[in-house]
Assembly symmetry: C2
Homo-oligomer: 173 residues x 2
C-alpha cells in the first residue's frame, strides 16, 4: 500500500477545528498532491464520542462531563452543535482544496476517539499516506492520553506526515 | 520555511543501518521528490556519541559501555568501525537516490544523540521537511529514551514524515 509508485494514491488528511489542522491540509495540497499521481484526497473529521461533551471549547480547558448529567434536550443541542462544527470544518477544508489544488476530494465524518478512529480509517480507506497536524487534543487531555499524532505515527500502518503550524506565521493558509 | 510553494525545497532524510530507514528514503524518493520543485535531498547519518560503544550489534541488545573501560586501541577500532558503518549507509542511500530519482543529493555525518542531532540539523540546514523511519533505536534503549521519530515529530520545527516499513514486504526498496 505504501509502495505508491502506482498511478493512484489515497491521501487521508485528518482535519479538526484547529488552525494547525488547516495548515497541515494546506501544506499537503502544496507539497504532496501532485499531477504525477491520480491522487484522491480523503478528508476525515472525527467527532468526539457521544457520551463526552466537548461543546465548551477546544483550547485545552474542555470540560468532560458524563452524558447522564444532561437532559435529552441538552444532549440533542450538543449533538446538533457537534454536527454544525463538523460541517463547518469540512466546508472550510473543501474550500482550501479547491483553492490550492485540482484534486478529487472525498469526505468522511466519524464518531469516536480520534486516536483510534484515524488509524482505523487509514486502514479501512486504504490510505497510502496519513497527514495531520501535530496536536489534536487540548493540553489537559493530551497529558493523560498522549497526543493524537504520536499515537497515529506509532499505530497507523501507512506513512504518517505530521505538520506543525510555524509559530511565526499567522496567515500561512 | 514550511511554506514550500517556492521553487526550492530542502528535504532532510535521516538514515541509519536499518532496512526501515532505507524504505523511508525510497518512499520519499517516489512520493515526495518531484520535478515540480527544485528539491535538494539532504542525507543525514548520526553516529552515536563517542563515549558509548554501539559496536556490538544493532538489534536492540546493544551494549553500552563507558569509554574508560577500553584501551585507546580498542576505542580507535570502534571509531573506525563506526566510520565504516556510516560510509556504508551513505553509499547505500546515495545509490538508492540515483536509482529512483533525478535529485541533487548532499550528505552529512554527525555525532551525538540521534534525537537531538536530527532536530538540530533540520533547523540548521533549513529543512522544509524531515523524513525518517519509525524506530531508530533498539527495543531496550527505546523503552528508556522513547523513539527517535516520536521525539523528532514533537520537537522538529519543520513537518515530519514518518514512514514505517510494511511487515508484509521484504523487498520493498
Amino acid at each position: 500500500m505504501a509502495e505508491a509508485e502506482a498511478a493512484e494514491r489515497r491521501v487521508l488528511v485528518a482535519v479538526d477545528e484547529s488552525e494547525e489542522s488547516m495548515h497541515a491540509l494546506s501544506w499537503c495540497l502544496k507539497n504532496i498532491i501532485s499531477d504525477k499521481f491520480s491522487d484522491t484526497l480523503l478528508l476525515l473529521y472525527v467527532k468526539p464520542p457521544r457520551a463526552v461533551s466537548t461543546a465548551l471549547d477546544g483550547t485545552g480547558t474542555r470540560c468532560y462531563t458524563e452524558a447522564f448529567l444532561f437532559s435529552s434536550d441538552v444532549m440533542l443541542a450538543i449533538e446538533k452543535y457537534g454536527n454544525e462544527v463538523a460541517d463547518c470544518v469540512m466546508e472550510k477544508a473543501k474550500k482550501l482544496c479547491s483553492e490550492l489544488a485540482d484534486v478529487k476530494v472525498e469526505t468522511r465524518i466519524e464518531n469516536g476517539d480520534a486516536r483510534d478512529v484515524i488509524c482505523q480509517m487509514a486502514d479501512k480507506l486504504g490510505a497510502d499516506l496519513l497527514v495531520m497536524g501535530s496536536h489534536g487534543y487540548g493540553l489537559i487531555k493530551r497529558a493523560f492520553l498522549g497526543s493524537v499524532s504520536n499515537h497515529c505515527a506509532q499505530n497507523a500502518k501507512c506513512p504518517v506526515m505530521i505538520v506543525k503550524k510555524p509559530k511565526s506565521t499567522s496567515n500561512s493558509h
